[in-house]
Amino acid sequence: MTVTGWLFDAYATEHGATVWLIDVDGRRHRLRYPFRPAFYMNLTKDEERFLHSVRGRLPGEVALRRVSKRQLYSRAAVEVLEVSVQNPLLFQRTVHALSKHFNFYKFYGADIKAMQLFYYTTRLFPLAYGEYETEGETLTRWTLLDEPGSDRYDVPDLTVMTMTPSMKLFAPKYQRSLEIEIAVDGVTRVLQQSDPLELLQQVDHYLRRYDPDILLTEYGDASLLPLLASLAQQHRFPLALNRDPEAPYITTKPVSYFSYGSIKHRDGVFELAGRWHLDKENSFIMGEADLEGLYDLSRLSQIGVQHQARTSIGSALSSMQIAWAYRNDVLVPYKRPVKEAFKSFATLLKADRGGLHFMPPKGYHEEVAELDFASMYPSLMRNHNISSETIDCVCCPDAKHRVPELGYRLCEKHTGFIPATLEPILRKRAKYKQMKKNAPTEELRRKYDRMQTGLKWILVTCFGYLGFKKSRMGRIEAHESVNAFAREGLLRAKEIAEAEGFTLVHAIVDCVWLKKEGAVRADYERLAERIGAEVGVRISLEGIYRWILFPASKMDDDIPTATRYVGVYDTGEMKVRGLEVRRRDTTKYVKRMQNEMLAVLARGRSIAEVRALVPDALGVVRSFAEELRRGSVSPFDLVVRRHISKDPYEYANRSVNAVVSQALAEAGVQLSAGESVEYIITDASGKRDPQKAKPLALYALDDGYDAAKYTEMLCDAAETLLGPFGWTKERIREMLDPVTVKRPAGRAAARRAAKERQLSLVLR
C-alpha cells in the first residue's frame, strides 16, 4: 500500500522505530520500521578480537562489520568497525558497556541519540511529504517529494488542544491547588478538580474525543503533565496522553547547569508518543517564531518537532552538521575535539580578539545614519569557506586564500561542512524575507516573518558555536578567522565612508553609524552599495536618526557604552537597545516611566528641541515618584524578577534573593539554582523588615513596598535619558525630595575610587 502524506512522529522502540504518518485525507497511520542504530570504533586487530569475545556480555545483541569512512579533519579514508545495536533502546547502554573496555577515543558517533541516527541514516525529516510504501504495519520504503531546505511546503491540518492552568498569575508550582483549563474546537472549559479521578476522566474524555495531534500547554513539562501522569499511576487510570498506547512517555528531570559563568535552570521534558506535546513555557523557539518557525527549523535540523521545541538552537545547528557528516560518510568525533594549534603569544594577541568597536562620543547626536551588514558572520563563513576542516587543511599547502592578520590558509578544493550547512539557511532566510515583503495579507506577512526569525537564530548562533567548548565539530581557529574577516570588513567600511566624506560616529561589529552634513537617504544607499561590493557582504541603510542618544556607562560615567542607545528615525519610529525599558530585570513601573519619558523626548526633531522637552520629561518622573509615595502603585508593576544562583539554603548571606527563595522554600515551593524568583521589595535596607522583600506568591496588599528604593530605580532610569543635560540621578532625587535626600557618593564615584586604588597597585 502507498500512503501519500507527511511523516508526523517517530520514536525508538525495541524493534526499531515507530513511525506515524498523516495522509492527505487526514488519516493517521502507525507503522514499524526495522531500524538498527550504529556507532563506529577504530580498533586494532587485537582489540577487535577482544570485542568479539565480550560481545555476548553486552546489554543487547550487536552486529559487527568493517566499513570505510572518512576522518573529518584529514579527509583520510579509514576502515572502522560498525557496531549496530539490534534494540535501539539499548544503544546508549551498549556504548556505556563497551566504554568500560575501550578508551573513549576509540569511538565515533557514539553519543548521538538513536532517533537522530534514524533521521540521519534514512534521510527522513519531520513533516517530510512523500509516498510511503507499507506492507501490513511495516514501513518498507519511501519516495520523498519534499526536501528539508524547501521554502514552499505544506503541512498537514493538525488538530490542537490547549491545556493551561486556569490561574495565569503564578506558575503552577506556586499554586496550592491546580485548576486546569482545556480549549479545543473553539470551546474553553475549566475542569472540575475536586476529585482526582474525576479530573483524569475529564482530561481523558477530551483526549479520546478530539484525539489532538498537538497538545499545546503552558507549564506542561514542569507541572501539568507530570501531575496528570502521576495521578493516573496512583489511580491506575489508563489516561490517553499518548496516542500510542504501547509506548511510554519520554521524560527527563529538571537540571541546573553552568553556562557562561552563570547558573541556568532547565525544566524537565515530557514528550508524548504519536502526538506532540509542546510547552510554550519551555520553548525558546516557539516564543520567537511560533509553530511555523518551529516546523521549519525541525525540518532543517532533522530533529523531531517535540524535541526541537525544547532543545537549544545550538543543538539544531549541531544536528545539521552531523547530518552532513552522515550524508558524506564522515566519522563524527566522540568526546575528543580538535585541539587548538600551538601559536606564539604574539599570534595569540592578534588572533584572540572579537569584533571591532568604535565607541561613540556619549550623549545626543543628530542626523546620524545607521548601516547594517546583513547576516555578516554567516555570510563571511560561506564566502570564505571558513570551517573547522578548511583552516590550514592538508590538501592546500599553497593556498592563496588566507585569513587577514592571521595568515591561516583556507581550503580551495573542498567546501567545508559549515558553509555547506549554512548555505541553505542563508538562501531560505533571504527567500522568506522576500516573501514577507511581497505577502498579500498581514497574516502571511506575519507567517513569513516568524519563519525567517526561526532561521535568524541559527545564523546568530553559528559563529559562537564554532568556538563553543562543547561543540563537537567546532574549532577555535575558525572562530578567530571569522572575527578577523569581520574586523577587516568593518575597517574597510570605515575607510570607504571616510573617503567619501562621512564621519564615523560609532561602529559595533557589523553596524556603522555615520554622519555627513546634508547627506540624504540616496547618499547613504549609494555608500552602502559600494561598501557591500567591496566587502562582499550586503550592507543596507537601516535608517537616518533625527537624534540618537549614547548614554554613559552605569559603571563609569566617563565612558559611553557600545550597545545601549536610543534614537528616533526620520520616520518617527524609535529604536531602543539595552536601556532599562528593554531589560528583563526592570520592573514594569520603571519601564512605563521610561517609555513615557521617551514618548515626550521623541517629539523633539533636533537636540535643541529635545533639550526644550527636558522639563516635560522631568514632569513624568515627578508624577511617577509621587504615585509611588502615595502608595497607590499596583504591586504587580513593582515585581522584580531575578535568577537565583544557588539552592535556597545554600546562601550564606541575607541577600534579597536568599531571603525570598528561603521564604518560598518554607512555603513549600521547591526552587533550584538557575530558576527565577519574583518579589516586591518591602524594605531594601532590612532595617524595618529583615525580610527585605516578599515573594509575589506570598505577597499581601498590606505588606506595602519600599517607595524609596523604587524611587531610586526611577532616578536611575531617568538619568539614562537626561544625564547628558546635566540631570544626574542625585540631582533628580533632590528635585523629587529636596528636604530629606542626602547625596550619597553614588556607584560611579565609588567605582572611580576603586579604580584609583587599583592603579596604586604596582608590580614590584
Partner: protein
C-alpha cells in the same frame, strides 16, 4: 626559612636545574600571575616556553609588561612563548598527548607549563573513568618529555571541587610531580612553600626514591597584581 628573594626567581632557579622534572605549583588564584612571572624569568635564559592553558589564564599582556620591566623588547618574549588552549578535559588530553612532544622538540624548548590541569576535572560531563584514563595518558607524555630532558610545570589554583568524588584526582596529579610548590597567603604576604621534593628519579621508582620533605618559605611581594587575561 624566610627569604626576600623574588619568588619567581626562586621557583625558576629551583625548578630549572637540573632539567627533566615534573613540578606542581598550586595555591591561591594568584598562582597564574606567578606562573607568568616565572615564564618571564625562564625566557631570560631559555630558548622558549610552551604552554598548555586549561585555565584560560595565559596573559600575553602581562608577559609583554614583564619584558618591558626588564628593558627587553616585548616581542622577544611574545615570539618565544607558545600556547595551545584547552576548554575541556578532553581538549587537555589531545593538547598534551597528541603532538606536544613533537612541537616542543620543533621549537627547541626545555620547558612546558600546563595551566589548570586540575580545574578542568570538575566537569560532570567527563566521566571519572575518562578522567582517570586521560590522566594516565598525560602522565605517559610527561614521563616521555622528562626522559628527553624537558621539564613540565603544572600550575593550578587550590582545587575546590564541586564534584567531591573528584578530589582524589588532585592526589593523582600530585603523584605525577617530583616537586610541589604551594602558594599561600600568610598574614599580609604570599609565601611559596616547597612541600615535597623527590630526588629526580622517575615515578616508576618513586617508592624507593625516599622523598625529601622540607619546607622553604619565600615571601611573595604583595604587588603581584591579580589580573585577568586580555586586559592591557
Amino acid at each position: 626559612m624566610e627569604s626576600m628573594q623574588p619568588p619567581h626567581k626562586v621557583v625558576d632557579r629551583h625548578f630549572s636545574a637540573p632539567p627533566g622534572k615534573v613540578g606542581l605549583l598550586y595555591g591561591e588564584k594568584r598562582v597564574y600571575s606567578l606562573g607568568m612571572l616565572i615564564t618571564a624569568e625562564m625566557l631570560m635564559h631559555t630558548r622558549s616556553v610552551v604552554f598548555v592553558d586549561g585555565a584560560n589564564r595565559v596573559d600575553p599582556y602581562l608577559l609583554a609588561r614583564l619584558a618591558r620591566l626588564r628593558r627587553i623588547d616585548p616581542y622577544s618574549f611574545l615570539e618565544r612563548a607558545y600556547v595551545t588552549r584547552a576548554y575541556t578535559f578532553y581538549q587537555m588530553d589531545v593538547s598534551i598527548t597528541d603532538g606536544l612532544t613533537e612541537f616542543v622538540r620543533g621549537v627547541g624548548s626545555r620547558v612546558v607549563i600546563v595551566y589548570g590541569p586540575i580545574d578542568l576535572l570538575d566537569d560532570d560531563q567527563v566521566p571519572a573513568a575518562d578522567a582517570a584514563e586521560i590522566l594516565r595518558r598525560v602522565h605517559g607524555t610527561l614521563a616521555q618529555l622528562k626522559g628527553s630532558g624537558v621539564s613540565t610545570l603544572l600550575v593550578s589554583s587550590f582545587p575546590r571541587f564541586r564534584l567531591k568524588e573528584r578530589e582524589r584526582f588532585f592526589d593523582t596529579v600530585r603523584d605525577m610531580s617530583d616537586v610541589q610548590y604551594r602558594l599561600e597567603r600568610r598574614t599580609d604576604r604570599h609565601h611559596i612553600i616547597l612541600e615535597e621534593h623527590h630526588d629526580g628519579k622517575d615515578h616508576a621508582d618513586r617508592d624507593h626514591a625516599h622523598p625529601v620533605r622540607r619546607e622553604q618559605l619565600v615571601a611573595v611581594p604583595p604587588g603581584i597584581a591579580e589580573r585577568r587575561p586580555g586586559r592591557p
